[in-house]
Amino acid sequence: QDFDYGSFPDYTLKVKLIGGTQYEKLYTRIPEWEALTGAKVEIVSSKNHFDLDREIKQDIATGQITWCVGSNHTSFAPQYGDLYVDLSTMIPAEELAKYVPGTLKSAMVDGRLVQLPRVTDVSNLYYRKDLYEDPANMEAYKAEFGADLAPPKTFEEFKQQIIFFADPPNLYGTAFAGKDEGMSGRFMEILRANGGDLFDADWNPIFNSPEGVDALNWFKDIYDAGGVPAGTVNYTWDDIGQAMAAGQLAVDLDWPGFAGFYSDPAASKISDVLGFAVSPVGSAGVRGGWSGSHSFSVTEACDNKEAATSLAVFLTNDESEMMEAQAGNLPTRSKTFDEVITYFNENGKTALAEMFPIWQASLADARTPPLIPQWIEVSNVLWPQLQAAIVGEKTPQEALDKAADEARMILEDAGIL
């Protein structure tokens, strides 16, 4: 049974959407929605997510919530308090059932469905097949480690291969985002894969545990061994993407959004040797599954929440998700996964067809960062300390202890602890 998009003639819906070339394609569907419902959409803001976040905070600060639909992200959502409505009260359960359950679950904050996921991010491995299939490499690897050369199954193996492949300055094992949330998130992922976590059930910081030190040492080891470019502590996603596309990295643990880029022969040198693998497991034998989704939310202050909800659903419905998936993004509706693989196979985009099942597989283990408003703040005290340990200014334990202290203070100030 199809969702009822309703009819809102002459209503003007104000929306704030994430901008950027990769996200805007979806918005070409807005006129369709307008035709369907008779409403008019006014995009009052269109920015990248960091700027949008800042802007939304300013709106909260000034009480200027004059808009209805906003782009959102699981990492940001908890900060906004009760800015957004609980969509589970607005959307019939049978419609919600069409979304990937895990994705939908991580879209909740305090038990409220504050956002409707649009595309999902979960990290997995990209690797260069040519390197893994190079007989010389296979032989040398076998000789050194007594195992066959294949995409890593564990972080330990991953580390080993990173160091094995590294041949600076022409080739590095991998690179990681060394600052901002990228650093904190990846650390969190390995920490969790090792069986640890950032906080205990009472929100006490516990990442300075032995698992945490192990996780941090993983970064430190590959950094010290020259397995990653020294600049990696300064990299963000774009630098890693460029380096991978330049053929300078053997493996990249990264987001699905890069698939399109890496497999585009005009932009990437590795388009024809690109391989995909599920992300490795840690010492606890599990995946960290750092994940998040881009999403749409509807404001409490909205004067026509029905129309707003209608648009949010429309932009994440089957057709929309198909559109996103065709661009290489991970859709949030279960059905789309099957359809898009068929589509890719039919259209000769085999690489992407290969990728999707792998990414889908890892979604099962996907976990978001802690869904508390202070996550970003905690991340901001965490990553400089991680950096300090990686570049050798502090021992991992010192660094994590310091970060844990600061995180504790933040949570105490916030009244969570």
């Binding site: 994430i18 805007e24 774009d238 993407g241 330049a246 959004g257 890069f258 881009h294």
Partner: protein, 285 residues
């Protein structure tokens, strides 16, 4: 105007060489961006580096304007118009207001002059963060958020103080005799200013205008706060459209950068012809 050049040829060549080196340093990093706008991403990544694009391409621009099927274009034209309107208007008003202020400082004695002068200077010490949020709050209350007007007013405040200081310096260099002569010749104070001192302060005004224009044209921090939509977003803010959550479309960004640079270059070239030397020479003894 005669220019005495009892310079040895080797000195001349040394100067030329120095200029050449300076120009290379000043242009190469920027030229690299410009060239990047014309190459496919794959060339950006090439090792060894490809300096001159081997495959010139306009794809990046095509993408920018939505002419390719890869993605939707950006409202570049609208950004461009916003930028132009905001920068030109605020520059012109700032130069006029700043010039009036600079003139007052240069030509009149009055109470509280030093204090006022210092106050203008101190007005610029306020860091952007301390300014941007309250500004946002107030602008929101006034309903001029996301309007060109709101941004123009802010840029006025940014540009007026230095226009004042700069024009003050240049007006001081013009002998008072000249405006006196004009007043004797029957000019009102305004005519004397407009016909005599204004043209003579040209090089100062030109540099103030260039500076004000480029400041507004390139300003990002405040614009990113106070603009939201195509109604007022400026080019530098639009530049950030190329940064998504995870990726930066560097070639696309470069293409847009070229679009930002070219008009600035053209306007600057036009205005800076007014930086003429020796304007006040020969007037008085």
């Amino acid at each position: 105007m005669s220019r005495l050049s009892i310079e040895k040829p080797w000195q001349r060549w040394l100067i030329r060489f120095g200029v050449f080196v300076a120009m290379v340093i000043l242009t190469v990093p920027g030229l690299w961006v410009v060239l990047t706008a014309f190459r496919p991403n794959i060339e950006v990544l090439a090792r060894p580096a490809v300096w001159i694009p081997q495959q010139w391409t306009l794809d990046n621009f095509a993408r920018l304007f939505g002419l390719s099927d890869v993605q939707q274009g950006l409202p570049v034209a609208q950004y461009f118009i916003n930028s132009l309107v905001i920068s030109l208007t605020s520059t012109m008003i700032a130069v006029v207001i700043g010039m009036a202020g600079g003139y007052a400082f240069a030509r009149y004695r009055f109470r509280g002059k030093a204090t006022l002068f210092l106050a203008f200077m101190l007005s610029r010490t306020v860091p952007g963060v301390a300014l941007s949020l309250p500004l946002f709050i107030i602008w929101a209350r006034l309903g001029i958020i996301d309007t060109s007007f709101g941004l123009i007013v802010v840029y006025l405040a940014v540009n007026i103080p230095f226009t004042i200081w700069l024009t003050d310096g240049f007006f001081r260099q013009i002998p008072v005799d000249l405006s006196e002569a004009a007043q004797i010749d029957g000019c009102t104070a305004w005519q004397a200013f407009w016909k005599i001192e204004f043209p003579l302060a040209r090089s100062g005004l030109a540099s103030a205008a260039i500076f004000a224009f480029l400041t507004s044209w390139n300003e990002y921090a405040l614009a990113s706060q106070l603009t939201r939509t195509t109604a007022s977003k400026t080019m530098p803010v639009g530049l950030m459209d190329f940064t998504a959550q995870f990726t930066v479309d560097w070639t696309g960004m470069s293409a847009m950068a070229v679009l930002i640079i070219i008009p600035a270059l053209v306007l600057t070239f036009i205005v800076q012809k007014h930086l003429i030397s020796g304007l006040t020479f020969g007037g008085v003894k």
